[in-house]
């Protein structure tokens, strides 16, 4: 590679002598305590040259802590780390980068207003001081061709899709010389085709001598791509298995423990089946959307004439690749975004452009896509987050003052009902795990028997148990008679939960189909913009 003038890895010698199967990272007896929690307890972990090693576990199992220790973000309280056989003490990520370790976060930290090349140039300490960009552009082209990580070096980051950002982040670590890659839940925000591209790239990388630690929740992905799988549970290592000799059942058992899957995992499955079987006593129209047009952030028309309705006791699913107008649609319905044209009615009342408060007052629950950005105030306590929508009415408050004694009683009750695990209602929510954060939102939104629930990617980023829990709650609410609008890019989830399914593509509904007639493959194609005639099974032409 001609590029290596500046960016030659310090280990090129060591690396050239390595062969497949040699251990490149060895972590022995890693223990890490945080106040009140043991995040990792005596974990042994090894990564071999040229392998993809998946770390699997529920939220809070200690996966992120373990890789954070390897990446130098945290220092272990006990245990030893060896990289290429050398004992290391990383005091910061820079030490780790120096040793050729790179980490790609779930949401890559890039500067939106700069180009791809500029972002990458920023992270290269050895890049030429003056005019580094053309040099870097060449490098990017070279690397992206080699690994199939297609990006335009001159594009501004804000123009990129989530998948492209991911690729930029991976390229960045590669160009700065990383041979050991940590990918922290890289697929969560990717569409299915983007996900497949990523997997191809990962395979190309290990072919070229990289070693990858891959963190995921999704069993299918893990089984599909990994060589070995290490399962963590509650901060301890359950075991490491090779992909060939494992199965989804085995992994679930490992993740959830011997007793748990019976009560939660499988139990939930049964409950879901039962809830489904009850069938739906579909009632009155609750939500009506008619010919809705909404502008996106950059002034483009993101929603183009969408019409549908959701009735009592019905789950209406909208599936689509992220970025096809789902967010704008939801925000228009809940009053956070102005509708350009069209009408939105809730229980017959026109709430078009009436603002979020009008929608809340109609008894609408909204589980936002971005929990941290919209759903929660991280620096406030659990109690303060739980009353976010109720604080303004009695008995939560009088005319002026908040009724703190009622609030704490109510919050304790909610925390018990929704199983939010924390020592104290006055803990700031920023100290809670991802699953508990979602529970806080669910508790808040469902506690008042809403007649309309808008759930936007409600299981996004959650582990198996938490996902089941959320899905079960949605079905219970439907059973109770709530109208539910479910938006997700997860086709399986949509098919499993919805009564009717709309496929959204480029701001329009491709079709609305009853769940009974839904066919995953067909829906998947429709998500990509392939249109079918109602009566004709043949494809009739692609749009775009």
């Amino acid at each position: 590679m001609k590029s290596s003038k500046y960016y030659l890895s310090p280990f090129s010698q060591t690396l050239s002598s390595l062969k497949k199967g040699d251990i490149v990272v060895l972590m022995k007896g890693i223990t890490k305590r945080f106040p009140g929690v043991i995040a990792n307890y005596k974990i042994d972990f090894d990564l071999r040259y040229g392998e993809i090693h998946a770390l699997l576990g529920e939220n809070g199992a200690g996966k992120t802590t373990l890789v954070s220790i390897l990446y130098g973000i945290h220092q272990p309280d006990e245990g030893e780390i060896y990289v290429y056989g050398k004992r290391v003490h990383f005091r910061s990520p820079r030490d780790a980068i120096r040793m050729g370790i790179g980490m790609v976060h779930q949401h890559p930290r890039l500067i939106d207003t700069l180009t791809v090349a500029e972002n990458i140039a920023l992270s290269l300490k050895d890049a030429p001081f003056i005019n580094p960009v053309p040099n870097v552009e060449e490098l990017i082209k070279e690397y992206s061709e080699k690994y199939g990580l297609k990006v335009d070096p001159k594009a501004k980051v804000w123009q990129l899709s989530a998948g492209e950002k991911q690729r930029v982040a991976i390229l960045r670590t590669l160009i700065s010389g990383a041979k050991i890659l940590i990918l922290d839940e890289p697929t969560t925000s990717l569409s299915p085709p983007e996900r497949n591209d990523l997997f191809e790239a990962m395979k190309a990388l290990v072919e070229e001598g990289a070693s990858i630690i891959f963190i995921s929740h999704k069993l299918k992905e893990v089984l599909g791509i990994s060589d070995r799988i290490t399962v963590l549970r509650k901060g301890r290592k359950v075991g490491t298995v090779s992909a060939e000799e494992s199965s989804p059942e085995l992994l679930i058992k490992m993740m959830l423990g011997e007793s748990k899957p019976m009560s939660i995992g499988l139990g939930l499955g049964k409950a879901k089946d039962q809830l489904h079987k009850v069938g739906h006593k579909v009632g009155k129209k609750i939500l009506e959307v008619h010919n809705l047009y909404v502008l996106g952030d950059r002034g483009e028309v993101a929603v183009k004439g969408v019409s549908f309705e959701v009735r009592e006791g019905e789950i209406f699913g909208i599936v689509g690749v992220p970025g096809n107008g789902q967010r704008e649609l939801v925000e228009a319905i809940v009053g956070l975004r102005k509708a350009l044209k069209g009408v939105i009615r809730i229980s017959g009342v026109d709430i078009t452009n009436k603002g979020p408060l009008a929608v809340i007052n109609m008894g609408v629950a909204y589980i936002p896509e971005d929990r941290i950005k919209y759903g929660l105030v991280l620096d406030l306590t659990i109690a303060e987050n739980l009353i976010l929508k109720d604080y303004r009415r009695p008995p939560f408050s009088g005319r002026i003052m908040l009724n703190t004694s009622y609030i704490s009683k109510w919050c304790l009750d909610l925390m018990r009902r929704y199983d939010i695990k924390t020592p104290d209602i006055n803990t700031p929510v920023k100290y809670l795990s991802g699953g508990n954060l979602q529970r806080v939102i669910l508790a808040r939104e469902f506690s008042h028997n809403p007649k309309l629930i808008i759930a936007f990617r409600p299981t996004y980023g959650l582990d198996v148990a938490a996902t089941e829990y959320v899905q079960k709650l949605l079905l219970q609410e439907k059973q109770r008679g709530a109208a539910i609008l479910l938006i997700s890019e997860d086709l399986d989830e949509i098919i499993e939960l919805s009564d009717r399914i709309a496929v959204m593509f480029e701001g329009k509904f491709m079709d609305i189909v009853p769940a009974g007639r839904a066919d995953a493959e067909r829906l998947g194609l429709m998500m990509m913009g392939v249109r079918f005639h109602e009566e004709d099974k043949d494809t009739c032409g692609k749009s775009l």
Partner: protein, 368 residues
């Protein structure tokens, strides 16, 4: 070849003891830097510090004046703590204070001249609050409606308020018994605030400020509006999501913030000067110093008592520097500035660390 490099790194975990020790060290470092200035001036810094501290905090003389300065600082800071809580950067307390002073003058000399003090004094406070609040309302509405940055508007409004005071004292309100000097006539006795005998402490203002400390604390902690302010300040997206009206929050925090600064202005003219005069005489930058005290108190109204008392003491101590040590008063500004700078940078020190390393050809040596 080996070379030495300085490297700044993010620190992810900070133990509690460091959180306490670092600010103390920051203040010590600031004191050490100023010590060098004392040295250049030929003054023993230890003696100087002892004198400043002693005079400002341990003598009745010092405490008396400390409290005089604490009154406007505390009132402005209370208001600012509300605005800052909503993440609204009101830099305009200085101008809002002047508007309060204008209001008090109007009541005292024109509107309610000749009325007994039990009418005039409450009227001054009320109108002072209203004037300060309305002055702050303009940036609030500009921000709410047009997204105009409030830092710039509030700052600019300070200059407008100053010019307004100048216009009044040179023009329509210039005193009739003042030999044409650009000051207004003196307030009648009924419009002069009572003082604690032997001091310049206008106790009604002090009382208002002290009562407001717990009131503002409870307002922020326990009221619906206080809750909305916190949510809005910490996460405006979540506030929108929860249906909190942005304009309402902006208007309320700016009304309170400006109104309290206005009350501070009433106290200064009706309690100390008894007339409207040059803006720089009415407030020696209380509106700006209050930003520092509020920040130091981490927006907690209860903590404002010690921080305003401390900064009141620094201002008094600065005069001590001048009177006893015969140094120019600019040393005081240096003093305040350095303490603030050190505190702010120590905050960075908590989150980052600086390492010196020897970087050699064998790069892998650096991690030991």
């Amino acid at each position: 070849m080996k070379k030495i490099r300085i490297r700044v790194e993010r620190v992810y975990e900070v133990p509690l003891w460091l959180r306490i020790v670092i600010p103390i060290i920051a203040i010590l470092v600031a004191l050490s830097i100023i010590a060098i200035i004392f040295l250049i001036q030929g003054i023993n810094p230890i003696i100087a510090y002892a004198e400043i501290f002693h005079d400002a905090f341990l003598t009745t003389y010092g405490i008396k004046f400390n409290v005089v300065k604490l009154i406007p600082l505390l009132l402005c800071s209370l208001g600012l703590s509300v605005a800052f809580k909503a993440n609204v950067w009101n830099i305009g307390a200085e101008g809002q204070l002047l508007m309060g002073a204008i209001a008090a003058t109007w009541i005292a000399l024109f509107k309610l001249k000749g009325y007994p003090s039990y009418i005039v004094i409450p009227a001054m406070y009320v109108l002072g609050f209203i004037f300060g609040a309305l002055w702050a309302l303009i940036p609030a509405l500009l921000k709410a409606k047009f997204e105009v940055n409030e830092i710039i508007t509030t700052l600019m409004m300070n200059y407008i308020a100053m010019k307004l005071v100048l216009f009044l004292i040179y023009g329509p309100w210039r005193g009739t018994t003042t030999w044409k000097y650009p000051i207004t006539d003196e307030f009648p006795a009924e419009a002069q605030l009572p003082l604690i005998p032997g001091t310049l402490i206008h106790w009604p203002s002090l009382l208002i400020a002290l009562i407001l400390v717990p009131v503002i604390y409870l307002f922020l902690k326990r009221t619906k509006i206080g809750y909305e302010i916190s949510v809005f300040g910490l996460n405006p997206n979540a506030a929108r999501y929860a249906g909190i009206n942005k304009t309402k929050v902006l208007v309320i925090v700016m009304l309170i913030s400006g109104g309290l600064a206005g009350i501070a202005g009433v106290g200064e003219v009706a309690g100390i000067h008894h007339r409207l005069r040059y803006p720089s005489s009415i407030s020696s930058g209380y509106g700006y110093t209050a930003i520092i005290t509020t920040w130091l108190a981490k927006l907690n109204p209860l903590l404002l008592l010690p921080t305003t008392f401390f900064f009141g003491g620094l201002l008094v101590g600065g005069d001590v520097i001048k009177i006893d040590l015969r140094l120019p008063s600019s040393v005081v500004y240096l003093f305040n500035g350095l303490i603030l700078t050190s505190l702010v940078s120590s905050d960075i020190l908590l989150r980052y660390r600086i390492r010196l390393l020897v970087v050699g050809e064998e790069d892998d040596k650096c991690h030991s």
